[in-house]
């Protein structure tokens, strides 16, 4: 009887031992998972997306850099103590630009916040246009739906809002996306040579579909005060259509109808200053394949993109992550 008892004990302790080992293995694995989450380092993935469709836009992509708390880049604090910014400041007063940034409720924290903390501070006035109002951000509610097919409608309503509330506050009215980077000083230098009472608009000029060309939506575009007035008026008098799923093309067609000139935004050596893609795509020779739609769309013949330049003014688009 004691033998059976002994065997029972033995098997029981063997089982105990096994469960112990099992437990320790599971404990180890769980713990290491926990640690790797706590000290998680996300790989610096750069989504190198080449859009096959010229009118495609960046969808709400993989959650990047969710910002917690107020982020103040202190972009205007005395970073460069030996810097002389008199000329830039002079231009700031002379060439007043109102920037409005096309965004949406789901992108306010992800993207628009970065814009707000960086280059938007250099606009004379900046507005964030969303489908819904957000008093805290703050973002203007255009009372539209979200989605690619709503872009033109949002654009029309945004320009209307700007026209109704801020027409006298600026000379030039710039539309940018929440993944565009704009160097305002250089934009002012470009626009300083033109009169805002002229009907003209600037951006990255594309040649198809519209006789005088149209401006790429992604690279951003800027309207003169007269152009804005005519644009808003065109909808009141039904000169332009309200519905279109291709925002930049529709705007370009409307501009042609209302006799707003498509301007040449190239610099003094003939290089483009508005860029529809991230810098890498433009800087590295051969990055964009020769068969890519982009080369056929450009209104002006390509000069060695960005190779040797002194004064470059640029609006970069598709800037989904920081270098």
């Amino acid at each position: 009887m004691s033998e059976i008892h002994f065997r029972e004990m033995a098997s029981k302790s063997w089982l105990n031992f096994l469960t112990f080992l099992c437990g320790s293995a599971i404990g180890f694995v769980l713990c290491s998972q926990l640690f790797s989450i706590l000290l998680g380092e996300q790989g610096d993935t750069q989504p190198d997306i080449l859009h096959n469709d010229p009118h495609a836009r960046h969808a709400d992509d993989n959650g990047q850099n969710h910002l917690e708390g107020q982020m103040n880049f202190n972009a205007d604090s005395s970073q460069h103590k030996d810097e002389n910014t008199d000329i830039a400041e002079n231009l700031y007063q002379k060439v007043k630009i109102l920037c409005w940034v096309m965004t949406g409720p789901q992108n306010l924290e992800k993207k628009a916040k970065h814009v707000k903390a960086t280059w938007a501070q250099r606009c004379n006035k900046v507005l964030f246009m969303s489908s819904e109002e957000d008093k805290d951000f703050p973002a203007v509610g255009l009372k539209t739906r979200e989605g690619r097919d709503q872009l033109y409608w949002k654009t029309i309503k945004a320009f209307q809002y700007v026209h109704d509330h801020y027409l006298e506050d600026a000379d030039w009215f710039m539309k940018a996306d929440d993944d565009t980077y704009v160097i305002l000083e250089n934009l002012r230098w470009l626009l300083s040579k033109y009169n805002p009472e002229e009907p003209i608009y600037f951006g990255r000029r594309f040649k198809p579909y519209v006789k005088q060309g149209y401006m790429s939506g992604g690279a951003g575009y800027v309207l003169s005060k007269e152009a804005l007035k005519r644009f808003v008026d065109a909808f009141k008098t039904d000169k332009c259509t309200h519905s279109s799923s291709i925002e930049d093309l529709a705007l370009g067609r409307c501009m042609e109808i209302i006799n707003v000139e498509a301007g040449d935004s190239r610099d003094t050596i003939g290089k483009e200053t508005f860029h529809p893609f991230v810098p890498e795509h433009h800087l590295i020779r051969g990055y964009l394949p020769r068969t890519f739609w982009y080369w056929n769309y450009n209104y002006y013949p390509p000069v060695e993109e960005c190779s040797i330049q002194t004064h470059v003014k640029s609006n970069f688009y598709y800037y989904s992550s920081i270098i």
Binding site: F20, A75, D82, E83, C306
Partner: protein
């Protein structure tokens, strides 16, 4: 049943404790602490602008020409895309840059070190550079192809430092008793340090080719040990505000960390305005950096630099 579940639980606890211990140990070894905790190193600061302006214009010109920096870049065949980018970009601003490769690569010119071991490569490269160029260059900068370096800022940093003194500069890390310059941030040696290093390279007791019995010691630590014997000590290079000028990380990583650690000081907390190196870049990022540092300008912002370092002849990437 009860005893089994209790032994299971005991096992789990033991497993977790074991795992926690290992992670902690691993972290202490790597030294994942904040940069701010590493204040036990020697600081070396950049020159003050006022001091520079006191020197006459002619003397400043002479001074800016007296810096001759020789760049050593250690490469391996797998780095070929980075190598191409580095070759096309910042190395053109070195007074001379040479690539030391572990084996011969057809695509690019390099000096064959005939070894795969980083420490051996480093030794051979330093010896080669010293033997050949001791009279022509007074500062020697060693880099990896994942780095982006701004040579003008390096020269400015070295401005009032006498190369006949033993300087050994970069981003320093303290490992136990040893303070060494991390190869990930770039290593700067003055000609005096090179002299002393080379006199010891032949002595295996002081400067062994195979340091460390069990673990392989990284090449930057081995260099530090060697130099220590020669009386050359590592110094951390900083700007006038105490920020590191040699960086082992890329700008993107700094900003990412700043956004999570101190979101209201992203620009202030990031990097020095006169940073010399950044590491961890991809080839494309090298080109973007080159464009951003040398070509892109915001109209109307004028920088009154006390000194101008002109790029060497034949450098068309400005």
């Amino acid at each position: 049943m009860l005893s089994e579940s209790s032994s299971f639980l005991k096992g789990m606890m033991l497993g977790s404790i074991f795992c926690a211990l290992i992670t902690m140990l691993g972290h202490i070894r790597i030294g994942h602490g904040d940069r701010r905790h590493q204040h036990k190193h020697h600081h070396l600061q950049a020159p003050n602008k006022e001091d520079i302006l006191k020197i006459s214009q002619d003397e400043r010109m002479e001074l800016s020409k007296s810096f001759r920096v020789y760049c050593i870049i250690l490469v391996k065949p797998k780095d070929v895309s980075l190598w191409a980018a580095v070759r096309e970009t910042w190395t053109k601003h070195c007074d001379k840059a040479e690539f030391f490769s572990s084996e011969n690569v057809k695509v690019f010119e390099s000096i064959n070190m005939e070894t795969d071991d980083m420490w051996l490569m480093m030794r051979k490269a330093y010896k080669y550079a010293f033997d050949k160029y001791r009279d022509q260059y007074n500062w020697f900068f060693l880099a990896r192809p994942t780095m982006f370096a701004i040579m003008e800022n390096l020269k400015y940093f070295l401005l009032k430092k006498d190369p006949s003194q033993p300087f050994y500069l970069g981003h320093t890390i303290k490992s136990g008793d040893l303070e060494y310059v991390s190869v990930e941030g770039g290593i700067v040696l003055s000609i005096e340090s090179m002299k002393r290093l080379n006199s010891l390279l032949g002595i295996p007791e002081k400067c062994p080719e195979q340091g460390g019995m069990i673990w392989k010691i990284s090449e930057d630590k081995q260099l530090a040990v060697c130099l220590k014997y020669a009386g050359v000590f590592a110094e951390n290079a900083e700007d006038s505000e105490g920020k590191d000028v040699f960086n082992t990380k890329s700008v993107g990583l700094f900003i990412k960390e700043a956004m999570s650690n101190h979101p209201n000081l992203v620009v202030e907390g990031c990097c020095s305005d006169m940073a010399v190196t950044f590491n961890g870049l991809t080839p494309n990022q090298m080109h973007v950096m080159m464009y951003g540092v040398y070509r892109l300008r915001a109209f109307g912002h004028i920088f009154h630099d006390a000194l101008v370092f002109l790029p060497p002849n034949g450098s068309d990437n400005d």
